[in-house]
């Protein structure tokens, strides 16, 4: 498959526990490290023995057939569900006693598979909500409109516009988020997640429902986001073109377990992956 984008040419290097991260990230603490992560819902094992390391500036992919547990992994990372087993290290820091809000403050931002915007608020307010924890004034200052209110609202507005400009959405700033077209809603979710100033961005099917040209633009933008913000991105996606072109490390999940990890080339050649997607070849 032809590479459309020049990613930082940085070969993957093996780490202990069969993980790979890009060479350029080798001497830094990985942004995320999962060790034997697992959860079961009343006996049903949704995710089990999930080990993953993501480098500081890596774009990683999480793929697998429907129901493999990909979104559950995201929910575990963001503590929508508390893992029943294993550890998550975010920048080397254990997150076991954190909740969703604290995980966000610690640097994980996410988008959702079924878009979750603040539909009745404007696009700009959605982005400003992403900046919630970097805006400092409290309720009383807000009500009395003290100078710090005006100052911070102004800088928040400017920052919001700057972030919206990544996707050329500045002119939609005053539109209600709920009335945006589908593709713009997905992009707004990414902008809102970026506004939280994350070190790891989780994208849940960012290209779902997009046409090929929108997807191509999205791919470009994901790489651009990584390059500009120097953050790691972990994405779930069914569009193999997108995954194989922009992801450096890929992790394949099936029935809640990792069945393969490696570079796009490795994954494409991996028989277990082919079997998971296409089924077992009948012995002739």
């Amino acid at each position: 498959m032809a590479k459309i984008f020049s990613k930082n040419e940085s070969p993957l290097v093996p780490m202990p526990s069969e993980a790979y991260i890009p060479q350029r990230d080798l001497n830094k603490t990985p942004v995320l490290e999962c060790r034997r992560l697992g959860i079961n819902f009343g006996g049903l094992v949704a995710v089990d023995d999930f080990n993953l390391i993501i480098g500081r500036t890596e774009i990683a992919g999480l793929i697998g057939p429907n129901g493999a547990g990909k979104t559950t992994v995201f929910n575990l990372l963001t503590k929508v569900y508390q893992p029943t087993k294993g550890t998550i290290l975010l920048n080397g820091q254990d997150t076991h006693d954190m909740n969703t809000v604290q995980v966000c403050k610690a640097g994980i931002a996410r988008t959702f598979q079924n878009i979750r915007l603040f539909n009745n608020l404007s696009v700009e307010d959605n982005v400003k909500l992403g900046m919630h924890n970097s805006i400092q004034y409290g309720m009383v200052r807000g009500i009395f409109r003290l100078p710090s209110y005006w100052r911070q609202e102004k800088s928040a507005h400017e920052r919001a516009m700057e972030l919206l400009s990544i996707f050329n959405m500045e002119d939609m700033a005053n539109t209600k988020a709920g009335s945006l077209p589908y593709g713009a809603q997905r992009r707004l979710e990414i902008v809102r997640a970026l506004a939280t100033n994350p070190c790891l961005l989780l994208l849940d099917e960012p290209a779902a429902g997009m046409n090929p040209s929108e997807t191509a633009e999205l791919m470009e933008n994901i790489v651009k986001i990584r390059d500009t913000f120097q953050i790691a991105i972990l994405l779930i996606e069914h569009d193999m073109n997108l995954v194989m072109n922009i992801c450096e490390g890929i992790c394949v999940l099936n029935f809640g377990r990792i069945i393969a990890k490696g570079s796009p080339e490795d994954i494409q050649a991996n028989p277990a992956v082919i079997e998971a997607y296409l089924g077992k070849k009948k012995e002739a």
Binding site: T71, N75, V80, F112
Partner: protein, 309 residues
């Protein structure tokens, strides 16, 4: 012995709450709305039975049947006129409409039947001839049976109430579990669109639910007024709120939950009145409700709902 007495009257009151709560819970399960007018349907049922018996001298059983029929029709009419046009409207709009209907019924009752309290006749008593010490034979009404040499007195109303509640509960469980309409109801409460695609007439199903709930309300009204025989246009509102609380207590949408919630609420209320304070009994009932909901946020038998992320 007094404890047993209180327990029995608690269960009896609880049975009435349970029957009313059924109406709330079934309608909520299907239409996802709090039918605030339900309490007032109870009042209408009680009035109709009252007039049927005391003005038209019908036998009590016929009176109850007439009340049931009229309440059932009333339920269907209310549903058709006030709630059906709002099927797609936000739930708060439906709630306010239900409140409007409740005001309407209360005030219509006040106009029709005035706000002077009516004394509900005693249905559940039998005449016994008794010889007084001076030798004359009198026929006196007896409204209960004495057990343990008079230490425990169980009134007929209590017995009838508990029995009726049990019968209704069994019948409803059988109805929703086995009949075609019952299954349609359960399907509608799970997913209306899917039910419609399976060829279930959702509107009819909802109407039937309202009809059943309102018919039960008539029974509850008669039982309530037999136990507490003062009838005014606002008779239904407080028991209505309590029964609604009972439905939430047991897990709204669940039929066994309504029974459990109703019984517990009745027992707690009577016990609080007996052992703590009459004036604070309502506060205690509601405090228990709050505690239960904190421990089990969807009620005792409610299914926990987990939002899919």
């Amino acid at each position: 012995m007094s404890f047993l007495n209180f327990l029995i009257s608690g269960i009896s009151l609880g049975s009435i709450y349970a029957i009313i709560a059924l109406g709330y819970t079934m309608v909520y399960g299907i239409a996802k709305m709090l039918n605030f007018a339900h309490g007032d349907v109870i009042m209408v049922g009680a009035y109709i039975c009252f007039f049927a018996v005391s003005r038209y001298s019908l036998p009590p059983l016929v009176g109850i049947l007439v009340a049931m029929v009229i309440c059932t029709l009333l339920g269907i009419i209310i549903e058709k006129l006030a709630y059906k046009p709002l099927r797609a409207a936000p739930s708060l709009a439906v709630l306010i409409t239900a409140i409007g209907v409740s005001y309407f019924l209360q005030n219509a009752a006040q106009l029709l039947w005035s706000s002077n309290p009516k004394v509900f006749p005693m249905f559940f008593q039998r005449m016994v001839s008794k010889t007084t010490p001076d030798g004359t034979v009198q026929i006196v009404p007896v409204n209960g049976i004495d057990l343990f040499g008079g230490e425990l007195r169980v009134s007929y109303v209590t017995i009838v109430t508990i029995l009726v509640c049990l019968i209704i509960m069994l019948a409803l469980t059988a109805f929703t579990g086995n009949t075609k309409m019952g299954k349609a109801m359960r399907a509608c409460s799970e997913d209306k669109d899917a039910a419609r695609l399976m060829g279930i007439n959702v509107n009819t199903t909802i109407s039937v639910t309202f009809a059943i709930g309102s018919g039960l309300a008539a029974i509850a009204g008669v039982l309530l007024c037999s136990a507490y025989p003062t009838l005014v246009p606002t008779t239904g509102s407080m028991p209505g709120i309590k029964a609604f609380t009972a439905a939430v207590f047991g897990g709204i949408g669940s039929i066994p939950g309504a029974l459990l919630g109703g019984l517990m609420l009745g027992v707690i209320e009577i016990m609080a009145k007996a052992y703590v304070s009459t004036q604070l009994s309502d506060a205690i009932v509601f405090a228990v409700l709050i505690i239960v909901l904190l421990v089990k946020p969807t009620g005792l038998l409610g299914r926990p709902v987990r939002e899919k992320v």
